[in-house]
């Protein structure tokens, strides 16, 4: 069955569950289980979010965060995909750079924050660098796996038919590693957002992170919760968009790939 019509339970149960959670939030705050100062009620938080949405400064901040995210992810993709193809298609290069990659990859990018303050300064350059650094590794590793997973028989066949190196790369290696690259892009898109936001929050670079920073500094808890809600929705939007992209790229793929991080 290609077209699945969502049943009533498919729509009702999630809606019910969201409604109950929101009501519970309202009750916990209103009854003072957690004081309204510490946990503004659900209605207050959404009302604050609504009033923030009317201000130009929110939209400027949102666009700045999206700019840092997009530049970081873009730079990571431009670097990681070609390098991944080079390291993945050459056994020798892969071995030579295995140790540095295995060492650099698990380094928590957060450790670079103080270094960035001193070198690139508290501006968009630091934000983009941090986002690109974090997004680079998942994409690099996925691309390398993808290139290594290319059917060797297809490559050998093309070679014996005299298909040149560049054309083999373009017609066989790239198309068959696209599913891996797209999965890498989805993982990296989330990482890039986290790091763009982190840079703004910790370095005071204009954007949603800086707004959260101010709200915290001035003890504006209503705004803090409203902004967190907004950041969550931004993350959700990016996640959904890239999951859709992945499904599109995987549409021809026979196996239902298991969920990567």
């Amino acid at each position: 069955m290609r077209l699945s019509i969502p049943s009533r339970a498919d729509v009702l149960l999630p809606a019910l569950s969201i409604a109950v959670t929101l009501a519970l939030w309202e009750v916990i705050s209103r009854t003072g289980v957690i004081s309204q100062q510490d946990l503004p009620s659900m209605s207050t938080s959404f009302r604050t979010l609504w009033s923030i949405l009317q201000t130009g400064s929110f939209w400027t901040a949102l666009l700045l965060t999206i700019r840092g995210w997009a530049l970081g992810l873009g730079i990571a993709a431009v670097l990681a995909i070609p390098i991944g193809i080079a390291l993945g298609s050459s056994d020798f290069a892969g071995a030579a750079f295995r140790v540095p990659i295995e060492f650099l990859r698990p380094i928590p990018s957060a450790a670079l924050i103080p270094l960035l303050v001193l070198t690139l300064g508290t501006n968009i350059k630091s934000e983009v660098f941090l986002a690109a650094f974090g997004a680079f590794w998942p994409l690099l590793v996925q691309t390398m796996y993808g290139v290594r997973d290319v059917d060797p028989i297809a490559l050998d066949t093309a070679r014996s038919f005299g298909v040149g190196r560049l054309e083999r790369l373009w017609r066989i290696t790239l198309p068959s590693s696209v599913p891996y690259i797209v999965t890498g892009l989805r993982i990296s898109s989330t990482v890039a957002l986290i790091l763009a936001f982190t840079a703004e929050l910790f370095l005071g670079i204009p954007g949603l992170g800086q707004k959260v920073n101010f709200a915290q500094a001035y003890g504006l808890n209503d705004q803090l919760y409203a902004l967190a809600l907004a950041v969550g929705f931004l993350g959700l939007a990016i996640h959904i968009a890239f999951t859709k992209l992945e499904r599109r790229a995987l549409r021809w793929h026979p196996s239902q790939r298991s969920e990567a991080p």
Binding site: P14, A96, P108, A110, A111, A215, L227, A228, V231, G232
Partner: protein, 260 residues
């Protein structure tokens, strides 16, 4: 070129490239004379002074405890929630909106909120913060792993009268374990990042705290030493995890190899 020479060359490159990179770092920092980029040798001396082992107990141990406890709580919660959600379509429909929202939330957005709600910048807040975000990779992978178990197996066990608890312990958990381990590995990497962020944001001890203080006082050698230490910690924790995983999943690899 014979296969043997090629293989020797490959091993040589695998050893030589990292050494050359380190040498390049040392030579570049020695010639740059930049206060921001102290020589690699200076960083290593500071590293030895600070971490082996004068500040180990005051600042490394608390950080490791936070990572360890947060990770353990997060993983336990992720598996405990993931098994029933994976087994029950109704629970899945009820929980998915929440899981999808929280897994996409950038963790630092909740740092200030965690301080307000828990009224603490100590271990309680750090561990809760790390644990909360460690849940999601494990939870999602557990759900996936449980769902991918052959339903015939579960039905067979049920018709042979295997009680529910035993079915979960002997069938569902082992069946989902490879996926659970994959989720745990992601959670561990996340835990280290969040430990650094949480300590850098507000703390009175820990590696992230040292990073912040040495930056604020322009002690750049110690700052670099802290960065190197965090890198080494991330690397070592990942390595230990891979060794544990290899042991725990030994049956799985043997089974896969036999099937091929």
């Amino acid at each position: 070129m014979s296969t043997r020479t090629y293989r020797t060359l490959k091993v040589a490159a695998e050893i030589a490239v990292p050494l050359l990179l380190l040498l390049g770092w040392q030579l570049w920092t020695a010639s740059a004379h930049s206060i921001k980029f102290p020589r690699l040798s200076t960083i290593l001396v500071d590293f030895q002074h600070m971490w082996l082992f004068s500040q180990f107990e005051t600042n490394v141990v608390p950080s490791l405890e936070r990572v360890g406890l947060g990770f353990a709580i997060g993983v336990t919660a992720g598996v405990a929630l993931g098994v029933p959600i994976g087994l029950s379509p109704v629970l899945r429909k009820l929980s998915m909106p929440h899981i999808e929202y929280w897994r996409a939330m950038p963790p630092p957005a909740l740092l200030p909120i965690s301080i307000i709600l828990l009224k603490s910048i100590g271990d309680r807040q750090k561990i809760s913060f790390i644990a909360f975000f460690c849940v999601f990779p494990v939870l999602l992978n557990t759900i996936d792993g449980v769902r991918s178990i052959d339903p015939t197996l579960i039905e067979t066990a049920r018709s042979y009268g295997v009680p529910r608890f035993q079915r979960i312990r002997r069938l569902v958990l082992p069946g989902a374990l490879p996926q659970i381990m994959a989720g745990m590995r992601n959670s561990l990497a996340l835990a280290v990042i969040m430990m650094v962020l949480a300590e850098y944001f507000s703390s009175t001890s820990g590696v992230g705290y040292v990073l912040l203080i040495s930056k604020n006082t322009f002690q750049l050698g110690p700052m670099w030493a802290a960065i190197v230490l965090i890198g080494v910690l991330g690397y070592l924790l990942n390595l230990v995890f891979l060794l544990v995983e290899r042991r725990v999943l030994a049956w799985h690899r043997g089974w896969r190899a036999a099937a091929e």
